[in-house]
């Protein structure tokens, strides 16, 4: 049986007895070239998988940091086609596997078949469509798989057991476990009940569990170790890009800072393996 690019990532991390680190970048903030350079830098730092956010005018799952980043990108005129072109160049260059984080509005408008075909040919490994909940996703999940892509599904702390079971059935790649009820955004602390929630999910599925929304740094990796298979960091990275609007930070500085942050996270997720 052939294994998807995302499955291979987790086969590797599990065999190394560690978690995966999955950073998020907004495509087109401040411009598409910079996004390409960030993907290269993150890949150099050996992150396991990169989420590429498609800017959307009316995001409801995202907090103010990522929304502002989307607004900056849209004001520069970023188009869906530009993102596929950039991703195509990066994946041909041997980047880390990439997953598209995209609002259903964009997928629907471009056309489901065309979007999936373009995503596959650009080299994406899978999709996360945060506003397509389990109930609406079954047909789309099937079509996604037909294109050789994974459809990652989200599970929230507010998701009751019967919903979680249905979502798990339709999910592939990994389960995106939302750490808190709320939007994306770096938070100081993760809720204490999160690990119990993850342990309960673990009893129900072998799919890798990745935690996002509210994860901001290496200190939180320790809390999740043994409970999750991966961590996703978005707003904390996007914050570095905000600095480009002041004139004292250069693009090279931002790439270096994101690289240093990623290196710290990569080290944190590998700690168990290196100590073993």
């Amino acid at each position: 049986m052939s294994s998807s690019a995302i499955s291979q990532v987790f086969e590797t991390t599990r065999s190394e007895g560690r978690m995966a680190f999955m950073p998020f970048v907004t495509a087109g903030d401040p411009d598409i070239q910079m996004t390409g350079e960030l993907i290269q830098e993150l890949s150099r730092q050996k992150v396991d998988l990169i989420e590429v956010g498609f800017p959307y005018s009316d995001p409801i799952a995202d907090g103010p940091v990522i929304q502002a980043s989307y607004t900056r990108a849209l004001q520069k005129g970023i188009r869906v086609g530009d993102i596929f072109d950039m991703v195509s160049a990066q994946t041909k260059n041997g980047s880390a596997p990439l997953v598209a984080m995209v609002a259903y509005s964009l997928v629907f408008r471009v056309g489901v078949e065309r979007f999936l075909a373009d995503a596959k040919s650009a080299g994406f490994a899978g999709l996360i469509v945060p506003d397509l909940p389990g109930d609406e996703a079954s047909e789309f999940a099937e079509r996604t798989r037909q294109h050789g892509l994974d459809l990652v599904q989200l599970i929230a702390p507010t998701t009751p057991v019967h919903r979680a079971e249905k979502i798990i059935e339709a999910a592939s790649g990994f389960l995106y476990c939302i750490s808190i009820a709320g939007t994306t955004g770096a938070r100081d602390q993760l809720p204490p009940e999160l690990t119990e929630h993850l342990d309960r999910l673990r009893e129900k599925t072998d799919l890798p569990l990745a935690v996002g929304f509210g994860v901001s740094g290496p200190e939180q990796v320790d809390i999740l170790r043994g409970h999750a298979d991966g961590v996703i960091v978005g707003s904390r990275i996007v914050r570095y890009l905000e600095k480009l609007s002041d004139k004292f930070t250069s693009r090279d500085d931002v790439i270096r800072e994101v690289g240093e942050f990623a290196a710290g996270m990569v080290k944190a997720v590998r700690q168990v393996a290196s100590q073993a």
Partner: protein, 402 residues
């Protein structure tokens, strides 16, 4: 997607589908709350005590039934018999109170103590602040900064009734951005907060709940038409932004032989960004958790919109209106800012009524189609709200000082 064998009133289905429209496109975090709300509403609807309590409030607190007024001087001008369904005479001055009270009762039933709402013109914010004050619920209303400027009177009213008005500074600083922020707040507070959505938009079950609570308008009008002229009206006209007054007015007539006309805000003209006529110029797409007609670009990004009326300034529309449009049941047209302003003044001088700028769009259509009407025709206009809130903005647009 509709079939002629099924009555148009038999929607939505259990998944919230109005034909192909509606459904739920929201983050997983909200799904449980939507399921909980669906169950709470189904149980409330079947509970005689809930209905008795709501009916009592509508009669003794809101002032229902409000009149179906035969506007004689306007009739002369319009070349037909014009009847105004006087939602402007409701407590708080618009139809919005019907829905806010109904949802506030639902909120109490679910044991939630906090309410959030979004508002454009402020009428839904005022109605929700009113309902929350009436029941002692904490209330936070999201409102775009641009709308706060345009609707200072309503902002003052909301604050006076103890609500927090939270300014929204993202995007176009209007209703659409206020809706985004309200949905975000709801995601973070869903355990103890109910979101009183103000129109027939958003994910299932909101379009159903709001339509049902607003249907009191059409049900009353139906009885009043029988009493006034012994039959159903020939045509009903209502303005459509998100579409709640029109949905409440049209729904009880949807399976009847009555012409239904929805009037969208045509703004400054047909170019993108100059209007907010989602059904006339939009494409099928997803916005704020629902699949409907949306003003969007080729990538699916929502377009900026404009209307002289803050209450119609929204780039989407309720999914049931999209269903009615595609089924050919309701005709949707648009009128311009200028025509609406003219109709505002015509109503004031002919009838001594200052209509909301929203409703002025419906009246403008009536005046514009005068030549196509016969003297025996009976036309009902939903006068969705009063224009007190708009006088500052009308004066500003007309370059007059108050």
């Amino acid at each position: 997607m509709s079939t002629s064998s099924v009555p148009l009133s038999q929607v939505p289905d259990a998944a919230g589908r109005f034909g192909e429209f509606g459904r739920r496109f929201v983050p997983e975090t909200l799904m449980h709350a939507l399921e909980e709300l669906t169950e709470a509403y189904a149980s409330a609807k079947a509970d005689p005590e809930f209905n008795r309590q709501l009916d009592d409030l509508l009669m003794n607190y809101v002032g229902r039934p409000n009149p179906l007024y035969h506007a004689e001087r306007l009739s002369e001008q319009a070349g037909c018999n014009v009847y105004l369904k006087r939602e402007d005479l409701n407590h708080t001055g618009a139809h919005k109170i019907n829905n806010s009270l109904g949802q506030a009762l639902l909120c109490l039933r679910m044991g939630k103590k906090r309410v959030i709402a979004e508002t454009g013109a402020g009428q839904h914010g005022v109605a929700t602040a009113t309902a929350c004050a009436r029941f002692g619920l904490e209330c936070c209303v999201f409102m775009g900064e641009e709308d706060i400027r345009r609707q200072r009177l309503n902002v003052f009213k909301m604050k006076t009734m103890g609500a927090e008005v939270r300014p929204v500074t993202s995007g176009s600083r209007t209703l659409r951005d206020a809706t985004n922020e309200a949905m975000r707040d709801w995601m973070a507070t869903v355990e103890n907060t109910h979101y009183i959505l103000g129109s027939v938009v958003g994910p299932h079950p909101f379009p159903l709940i709001v339509r049902d609570f607003q249907s009191v308008i059409g049900k009353e009008a139906k009885k009043q038409c029988e009493a006034a002229f012994g039959k159903l009206p020939d045509e009903i006209v209502a303005c459509v932004g998100g579409g709640s007054n029109a949905a409440g007015m049209f729904y009880p007539f949807i399976d009847d032989d009555v012409k239904l006309t929805g009037i969208e805000p045509g703004g400054r003209g047909p170019n993108a960004g100059d209007h907010a006529a989602s059904l006339s110029h939009g494409e099928k797409g997803v916005l704020h958790g629902s699949y409907s007609y949306v003003l969007q670009d080729d990538d699916g990004q929502t377009l900026d919109v404009h209307s002289v009326s803050a209450g119609l300034d929204y780039p989407g529309v309720g999914p049931e209106h999209s269903y009615w449009k595609d089924a050919g049941r309701v005709q949707y047209l648009s009128v311009s800012d200028d025509a609406a302003l003219d109709a505002f003044r015509t109503m004031a001088t002919l009838e001594g009524i200052l209509p909301a700028l929203e409703s002025s769009h419906a009246i403008a259509h009536l005046l514009a189609t005068k030549d196509q009407r016969s003297g025996s025709e009976n036309v009902v206009i939903c006068l969705s709200g009063r224009g007190d809130k708009d006088v500052q903005e009308v004066a500003r647009v007309l370059g007059q000082e108050i």
